[in-house]
Symmetry: C2
Subunit: 339 residues, 2 copies
């Protein structure tokens, strides 16, 4: 979690608190994954450390806090979400043939495809071992409910990946299918982290619903902003090539808006950019220009911001605990970050 350039004073305290949660998560992560003699453990450690933003574990801990729960077991339970997330990223990189992840060789590039598939499996399955171990002291019905939430989220994540594959190459696939895909591929884990945290923290059904609403809007805001990054940020800070979405034929949010807003000639350009007719390096300036002139980039930014705002509105139903302030700050940051 990096402080945005325009650090707002009302964000400083929650961000400090988020920072201290992340410190706890990092310490626990390092403790849980010592350098190992077994190859699979070495690969898992490589994939997990140095850590990414740890956004999903942060959401779990702060959601538990937001309903008045918390404790060291929540930090351990929270890391399990990261295992599922990282396991799925390892498989994503195998599928996309991506050699780079977080500025270093991907697991597939470093250890080969075979070990990448097995290590991804081990992390995804290990999620449930880590979760059940972490929550041993909590009431078993809560722990079991959290397991159910994460298992369903894992399946939804896969459904989202499969749907993404079907939409590939088609800028005219329609916003509805994009939103379904995003709710599954990105939203499911955000939702599970927040709802899982609220369940483990002992939140009431109404609080669980409020947290779920927050998470669903946050997921959309996050992904919409993520889709914008290649057009608005320096690739050195995003860590991903501006061309990779086009090369993979991904119908991202601004492209879909641009397709809806463009005249027929523009639509044909977008089709050629996504179906591989135009090489990505030629396509990028054309697409970028089109997204500017049609106003698609501005529209995408506005919609992302609207979802972040609606995410924050959902928090009104929570007790004024520290967690809610951190969750609000995360919603602000989700659409105000350059990586």
């Amino acid at each position: 979690m990096t402080l945005p350039d325009s650090a707002m004073t009302d964000l400083v305290t929650p961000l400090t608190e988020a920072g201290s949660t992340i410190e706890l998560l990092l310490r626990e992560l390092d403790r849980s994954w010592p350098p190992g003699v077994e190859r699979l453990q070495e690969i898992s450690r490589y994939a997990l450390i140095p850590a990414g933003k740890l956004l999903r574990p942060l959401l779990l801990v702060e959601s538990a806090q937001a309903v008045g729960g918390g404790g060291p077991e929540l930090v351990r339970a929270a890391l399990s979400v990261e295992y599922l997330h990282v396991g799925s990223l390892i498989h994503d990189d195998v599928i996309d043939g991506d050699d780079v992840r977080r500025g270093r060789p991907s697991v597939a590039a470093r250890y080969g495809v075979t070990d990448a598939i097995v290590a991804g499996d081990a992390l995804m399955l290990g999620m449930f071992a880590a979760l059940t171990d972490a929550v041993e002291g909590l009431p078993p019905h809560r722990a079991l409910a959290a397991v159910r939430v994460f298992a369903r989220a894992g399946v939804d994540l896969c459904r989202g990946q499969a749907l993404e594959g079907e939409l590939r190459g088609d800028p005219g696939c329609g916003l509805d299918r994009y939103l379904t895909m995003t709710a599954l591929k990105t939203g499911a884990l955000f939702r599970a982290a927040c709802l899982g945290g609220a369940i483990l923290g002992g939140g009431s059904p109404a609080q669980q619903r409020a947290i779920t609403g927050y998470a669903e809007h946050l997921g959309l805001a996050f992904q919409m902003h993520d889709d914008l990054l290649p057009y608005t940020s320096d690739p050195r800070s995003t860590g991903k090539s501006a061309l990779s979405d086009l090369a993979a034929g991904r119908p991202t949010f601004p492209l879909l808006l641009g397709y809806a807003m463009a005249p027929a000639a523009g639509r044909r350009e977008l089709e050629a950019a996504l179906d591989g007719t135009l090489p990505p390096t030629e396509a990028l300036p054309l697409v970028h220009g089109l997204l500017e002139t049609t106003g698609a980039l501005d529209a995408a930014r506005e919609q992302a911001a609207a979802h972040a705002a609606r995410a924050k509105e959902c928090l009104a139903e929570l007790p004024a605990a520290r967690g809610a302030a951190v969750l609000a700050a995360v919603a602000d940051l989700s659409v105000d970050r350059n990586r």
Copy 2:
């Protein structure tokens, strides 16, 4: 579960009972996976139906019966083990580049590697969704304990796969490492199916230990016999090519025994057969002859039978419920089958 040619009378009743459990499992499997519009569901159905032997779900149901438990929720819970198993087979076929599974195109061959990776993930993760849904009516601490057992087994399965990769090509890797690998790659799911059944069925700690002992010996007997099949059975009935183990450089049980029993010249032949120096078609008759003359095949058969016998001995500690008789029959069949 096929009746062996030499059907022993004392097996007939338990086998009929096993058969009726398998009928229930098949019906529930078909009900749980209707033909779907979503691609991922279609792929999952293709991978699961027609079903394999359903040995692991059978073990779960009968282990629950053997400690006096049972009920329709056990049948649903039992299928979840099959999801984990089949998900891991889908990934195995991606890793090994195998185009055939159970006599039909593998998922990777039929739907491509990308969808095979995602479908395998979905089945493995879906296991925990199916399990937690199935056991909703049972005491939550039992359900949670079963989740923990399966999650750890899933990780062990991956550790076994990684270890198998390390042993590849080396007939001198040693029996200890083979046994460790087998306990992880095959034994872990057998153990989880049996222990999970005993936990869900409300077995006492002593009964859980007895069932675990049974499962561990059964896993070894089963894998040792499986390793023998290419040398003792018609490939049309095993469904796998006699050459595939050699082509993959797998140090299987009879090969390891043969390596320990062979003179220096024989060892060099085995090394050449596994490290790819000799093409598999040339290697097979040499290896087969060596395993015969050294007595390795007989020794492997004896050890498999000894583990099956020890598995049955563990059952003595269970109440004389019908489940135990089925489990004993499964142990007999584990070393008396041609597929």
